[in-house]
């Protein structure tokens, strides 16, 4: 973490708004790059003895969420993650990584199993959002997401979460409540897709790049906001240029955090997790008359400073690339959800 913050503060040249916008958009395209390693590919490289488990025991097996047992450098764990496809056929089968309710209910089932077996949980986040169609609504996707979030908040076992690609809204958060939240350098995390925000706030999807910049969705900015705890650097050129190296870097950080969390007393673990989310965001307390006083004076200025430093680092940072293959997949664009603000 220290390494990233230092890297952020050495940037000297102020980028222009246009440079900044295209640098941020390049990250969005990296995060969506169809060649980027997805959950199953990552876990096969990160861990050994992987056994995938299937089904929510209620309706069916959702291929957009995968999970099972794995061993990470000797440590037994349960993994759960969104699963996109690398090829068009697989992407259709995986519904472009957009889960139906049964995907989240499968996740809840595996979380409970991990808790009962005393195994830690590692989750991998990579989804444009939960699937917004009629089948999803009929089976209660909102309830499934809410239930998954609530379940994770109270699970009596350590949880390490990694944002590996797209952290799209509630459909991402439903697997992303953790004691430690890591993010790959070119991943993004947002409350709504840039396209969705643009069409609602600017009334036109043409403003997606502006929306992406306004939402501060890059990993560096999410670190400054405290939403994630650590950025894991990608190999030069991005994760897809060297999936093995990406997995190696992830394995080292995941293993370190699993070890740190393993010794924690259960109540302290749960209280710290509660406090982590309890303290997210800031508000002011209005005086009876006159100006509102910030609740934690100076916090906003500090966030802004770190955000600005993070932004400067976005232009010409280590993983920065103009690689033309970084374009997002066409199919994913068609299917892109503007889901649930």
């Amino acid at each position: 973490m220290v390494e990233q913050r230092t890297a952020a503060s050495v940037a000297v040249v102020e980028p222009t708004p246009d440079e900044l916008r295209s640098a941020i958009w390049a990250r969005v395209q990296q995060a969506r790059n169809v060649k980027r390693p997805h959950t199953l590919e990552l876990i096969q490289s990160i861990a050994t003895e992987v056994i995938e488990l299937h089904g929510d025991r209620l309706f069916r097996d959702d291929p957009a969420i995968v999970g099972g047992f794995c061993r990470i450098d000797g440590r037994r764990a349960v993994f759960v993650g969104h699963q996109k496809g690398a090829e068009t056929d697989e992407n259709i089968r995986r519904n472009f990584g957009m889960p139906h309710p049964e995907g989240y209910r499968k996740a809840i089932r595996l979380f409970r199993l991990a808790e009962r077996l005393g195994l830690p949980i590692v989750t991998f986040i990579d989804t444009p959002g939960a699937f917004p169609g009629p089948a999803s609504e009929e089976r209660g996707v909102a309830e499934a997401i809410a239930r998954a979030i609530m379940t994770m908040c109270g699970l009596r076992t350590p949880i390490v979460t990694v944002i590996t690609g797209e952290g799209g809204s509630g459909g991402a958060l439903a697997l992303a409540v953790g004691d430690v939240v890591l993010a790959l350098e070119n991943s993004i995390y947002s409350v709504i897709s840039p396209e969705g925000a643009a069409s609602i706030l600017w009334r036109s999807a043409e403003y997606s790049q502006q929306a992406a910049a306004a939402m501060r969705l890059t990993a560096a900015e999410q670190l400054a906001l405290g939403v994630i705890d650590e950025v894991v650097p990608e190999p030069p050129g991005g994760a897809h240029t060297n999936p093995e190296e990406t997995a190696r870097r992830l394995r080292a950080r995941i293993a370190a955090h699993l070890d740190a969390l393993a010794g924690r007393e259960r109540k302290a673990l749960l209280d710290a997790r509660y406090a982590r989310y309890r303290n997210m965001g800031e508000f002011a307390i209005a005086a009876e008359s006159g100006e509102a006083q910030p609740q934690r004076p100076g916090l906003r200025a500090r966030i802004r400073r770190v955000l600005d430093a993070g932004r400067n680092a976005l232009v010409g940072g280590e993983g920065e690339t103009n690689d033309p293959t970084a374009d997002s997949t066409d199919e994913a664009d068609v299917q892109r959800t503007g889901e649930g603000s």
């Binding site: 917004p132 997401i145 239930r147 908040c153």
Partner: protein, 308 residues
């Protein structure tokens, strides 16, 4: 339904908007005083108009029993968010237009003498969107309900998470769900009332998690906005998609209750849904588990002789 004579002709210019409201469903012109008297439900077709938070509280709680808490919490622009307007300007405009500081109020009150904690969302303030302040109020309501062992009622009305607060608004989903998890583990019941509209991140967090979920008739309740769903999915959306009755049919709402019956329905449920008397399992839950358990233990000890 008492009929009433119009004191003047039906010519359009003779319906000043401060006196008359047009029903969006049946186009009937409704006299505002009559509409208010009917709890803002159309006297002709039963359309439920949206309520401001104070109107909802007046309809549900005993007169003067509500004690609003944390009315002075204000949203701040953490991200320096600018779309077509800066977020700070949108906040100021919403404050000026509604007189409210944000999109939710909470506090203790009574329903026919039964003590409850309520939190009511206000769609008039930025579409009832949930930013840090709304998340904080929902969470404080749940924590207070747990500490005081009082049933919690949340009346939702919201388009979803507040985009201008970025992922910090998304994190409010986790914050509120965490508090509700502790409330449930502590044996304190939660009734969720879903009103028009309840969508996005609010439906996908606390609003979906009631021990009992009640919806108002025909309220729009769904995860993705219907237009988004229709636009993303090249499918014809079914009739009544994402309406209260759709939720009921698919098993996600226990009851669809017209506004006129809401208070007595809540009262009926509260007779069954009382906080459990048992002490929480030690060290597991509660906002201050040790202090709370010790206090409950004291209460139980003091109560002991009356059982004998």
């Amino acid at each position: 339904m008492p009929s009433f004579k119009l004191p003047f002709g039906r010519a359009r210019q003779e319906y000043p908007p401060n006196l008359w409201t047009k029903c969006p469903d049946c186009a009937e012109m409704l006299y505002n005083k009559q509409l208010d008297k009917n709890q803002r439900v159309c006297t002709r077709c039963g359309h439920h108009f949206r309520l401001r938070a104070d109107q909802r509280i007046a309809q549900l709680l005993d007169r003067d029993s509500f004690r609003e808490q944390d009315a002075n919490l204000e949203s701040v622009d953490m991200l320096g968010f600018v779309d077509q307007k800066p977020y700070s300007e949108r906040l100021a405009a919403a404050h000026a237009a509604t007189g409210s500081r944000d999109a939710a109020v909470w506090g203790p009150g009574t329903i026919a003498g039964t003590r409850v904690v309520v939190c009511v969302m206000d769609f008039a303030f930025m579409g009832g969107s949930m930013g840090t302040v709304v998340g904080e109020k929902v969470t404080r309501a749940a924590e207070h309900a747990l500490d005081e062992r009082l049933p919690l009622i949340i009346v939702a009305s919201s388009g979803g998470a507040r985009m201008q607060e970025g992922t910090l608004s998304l994190m409010q989903l986790a914050k509120t769900c965490a508090a509700l998890g502790r409330l449930g583990d502590g044996g304190v019941p939660f009734i969720s009332v879903l009103t028009d509209p309840t969508t996005g991140g609010v439906f996908a967090s606390f609003a979906a998690l009631g021990d009992v979920n009640i919806a108002e008739p025909k309220a729009l309740i769904g995860f993705a906005g219907a237009r988004v769903a229709a636009g993303t999915i090249a499918e014809e959306l079914p009739e009544g998609f994402q309406r209260a009755e759709f939720l009921y049919d698919h098993g996600f709402a226990d009851l669809v209750v017209p506004r006129a019956k809401l208070r007595e329905t809540l009262l009926g449920l509260l007779r069954y849904m009382k906080p459990s008397a048992q002490v929480e399992r030690a060290g597991q839950n509660g906002s201050s588990p040790l202090g709370r358990s010790a206090q409950l233990f004291d209460e139980l000890i003091r109560r002991e002789p009356t059982h004998g």
